[in-house]
Amino acid sequence: MNTAPGPHDDLRRWLIERVAVYVGRPPAEIDPSVKLRSYGLDSIHALSLCVDVEEAVGLLVEPTLAWDHPTIDDIAAHLAGLVARDRTGQGASDMDDKGLL
């Protein structure tokens, strides 16, 4: 289930599948342009999604990922950006651009 996604579209497709599992709906009902909270995604799911990203994509993300980037499209774009930055050797994490510890 956690096959590593690559480019932007794959990321989006993978995110749709993950979210569908969390909110207990078929993937076809998940619109990537709709805010995740409207599907009933709560903080437990949101944190778990971060763990999925870490495990499947190899990116460390903020636990607030799903609130900072509220739709699947937003998250996919954000992650694609991190992946691209990773390839240019700037570190695969969004921890450092937030000014947090």
């Binding site: 207990g24 709906r25 805010k35 909270r37 409207s38 599907y39 009933g40 995604l41 709560d42 903080s43 437990i44 949101a46 944190l47 778990s48 971060c50 763990v51 636990p63 607030t64 609130w67 509220p70 947090l100 510890l101």
Partner: protein, 556 residues
């Protein structure tokens, strides 16, 4: 023995320990004797600052530093207030200030890793290394001495600090201990936060009280990878754990076959479930899923309790197993428990033992018979002293009874019934909403919702039960003036509440005057809930969660 400190100090043993397991699985160990030494040093430090009897706020991450600080406060007769570390953001900072003001606390203690980010509250680190533990002399304490203040978690607008005494603790922990019957607990394992009554009393203080090891981890670590909790039980051979229903359900959902293969839960003789409604389905699914790992159905201990009664009111004792009975759903709504073979399953929460309990007509007029649903009233030495600095609320909640002057009953605000010697909990008349084992207070939700909408009039927040048994938050908010783009307004309100509380919600914007109050100006949240569920509210704009749409369709 009338105080908790004397009780636990009489049981200090070199071979008992607290073990905090970090995210990477590495343990940090603290034997009871060293814990006691650091607590004495902390107490000396606190007394040296003249803090005896002065409440102190404890803002700590999960870990042993909290335990040392909390115990240090107990040893120094300083009422500790365990609270969650605030996230960054104004709303969270204001919660800390509200708690401090309400409790009259002048000091915040934290660990060295957080002292700079909490500098706005002049937080400091209790330096136990700088004080001499042997300089400690126990302050005078009795059963009536306040041990700590348990704030109903997360409350920004109407905080209530439950004053728990040493006598309350000793009595309730003894009830808890007796649940194990002839198999005394040797090692507890868990992940619940230390500022949650079940994490504080059910794990930390219980371990100290019974002289058992405690192996624990951070709540965030559990949520991220729930298998870690069961790995603690496996690896350390724990025999007792506690969790709300959500924790067991989360394990069943998230733990993979591969992870399951490495688990051994055969050491577990007590798995307490409490702090939120217990779903029969959660127990059955967990049992099925983890039977191959050695989990035994007789290990379940469903229970019921609340911070106002220290922790526990009733709980099924060790080895007795789960009783699930089915009741006619429409009769339940009319406050009657009528057995029905295909009806709603309810999990029995154990017999009444060591406390007095009765079921009372919600208007307080009369006691009800077995099988009749009413408010659960409790009386006995576990019932806390009251709400700090709130005599009127204390009288209304803690001093109910036939004589208004000398009432000895705690009104729990929960609904239930007794049948064949066990308590069943069916609902609530108080306004609190419980999501994933966490208490949410409607005042806080309403305040956040109003902050996000300058044109808001009154707001009313309440919980509704979804078909899957979980609770869902609904906010009904009046538009006071200027309509603007209602979709945009709704979006802003929902973003705010979701971000602040980490929950999805449904929102209904309504015309001015649609949110009802009593003549004395109190919000009628339960009435608003009924109007909402019956579809009689006229929305200007509504954003309803899909699961809720389904629910409203069934009602209609």
């Amino acid at each position: 023995m009338t105080d908790f400190v004397a009780h636990i100090r009489a049981r200090l043993a070199d071979d008992r320990e607290f073990v905090f397991v970090r995210d990477d699985g590495s343990p940090v160990r603290l034997p009871f004797t060293e814990l006691d030494r650091r607590a004495r040093a902390t107490a000396v430090w606190l007394a040296g600052r003249g803090l005896t009897d002065q409440p102190v706020l404890l803002l700590y991450p999960a870990g042993l530093d909290f335990t040392v600080a909390f115990l240090g406060c107990l040893y120094a007769r300083v009422p500790a207030i365990p609270a969650p570390l605030p996230d960054t953001g104004a709303a969270h900072g204001s919660r800390v200030r509200t708690l401090m003001r309400d409790a009259g606390a002048r000091l915040v203690l934290t660990d060295s890793g957080h002292v700079s980010e909490l500098s706005a509250f002049s937080a400091c680190v209790a330096d136990h290394a700088a004080a001499d533990p042997d300089a400690w002399t126990p302050p005078a304490m009795t059963g009536a001495t306040i041990a700590y203040l348990q704030y109903t978690s997360g409350s920004t607008s109407d905080p209530r600090g439950v004053e728990v005494s040493h006598g309350n603790l000793l009595h309730n922990l003894e009830l808890f201990r007796l649940l194990a019957r002839d198999r005394p607990v040797r090692r507890l394992a868990g992940w619940l936060p230390h500022y949650h009554d079940m994490g504080l009393v059910g794990l930390q203080l219980q371990a100290l009280h019974t002289g058992a090891d405690l192996v624990f981890m951070s709540p965030a670590s559990f949520v991220a990878r729930p298998v870690r909790w069961l790995e603690l039980i496996s690896r350390y051979g724990a025999d007792w754990t506690v969790s709300p229903d959500f924790g067991y359900a989360w394990c069943t959902r998230r733990i993979t076959d591969e992870q399951l293969a490495g688990l051994d839960l055969s050491s577990l003789t007590m798995a307490v479930s409490g702090a939120e409604p217990i779903r029969a389905g959660t127990l059955a699914e967990f049992e099925r899923r983890f039977a191959p790992a050695g989990f035994r159905p007789t290990a379940w201990n469903p229970g019921y309790g609340l911070a106002e009664c220290t922790l526990m009111v009733t709980c099924v004792p060790q080895g007795q197993g789960v009783t699930v009975r089915r009741f006619d759903p429409s009769a339940l709504e009319r406050h009657r428990a009528v057995p029905a073979p295909e009806g709603t399953p309810l999990v029995a929460c154990g017999p009444v033992s060591g406390l007095d309990l009765r079921i009372v007509e919600p208007d307080g007029s009369r006691s009800l018979a077995d099988g009749e649903i009413g408010e659960i009233w409790v009386s006995g030495p576990s019932v806390a002293l009251g709400y700090r600095g709130r005599p009127a609320e204390t009288r209304a909640t803690f001093r109910a009874g036939d004589s208004a002057q000398h009432g000895r009953w705690l009104r729990t605000g929960d609904l239930g019934f007794l049948l064949d010697g066990q308590l069943y909990v069916t609902g609530r008349i108080k306004d609190v909403i419980i999501v994933n084992g966490r208490n949410l207070y409607p005042q806080d939700l309403e305040e956040a919702a109003a902050r996000a909408n300058p044109a808001a009039g009154r707001s009313a927040a309440f919980g509704v039960r979804r078909a899957d048994g979980g609770e869902h938050v609904v906010v009904v908010q009046e538009m006071r003036r200027g309509q603007g783009d209602l979709g945009e307004t709704a979006d802003r309100v929902m973003d705010q509440v979701t971000r602040e509380f980490g929950i999805p919600l449904s929102l209904m914007l309504v015309a001015r005057g649609a949110v009802r109050q009593t003549t004395s100006g109190k919000l009628r949240r339960r009435h608003m809930r009924e109007l909402f569920l019956s579809g009689t509210l006229t929305p200007l704009h509504a954003e309803l969660e899909p699961a809720l749409n389904d629910l409203l369709e069934t009602v209609a």
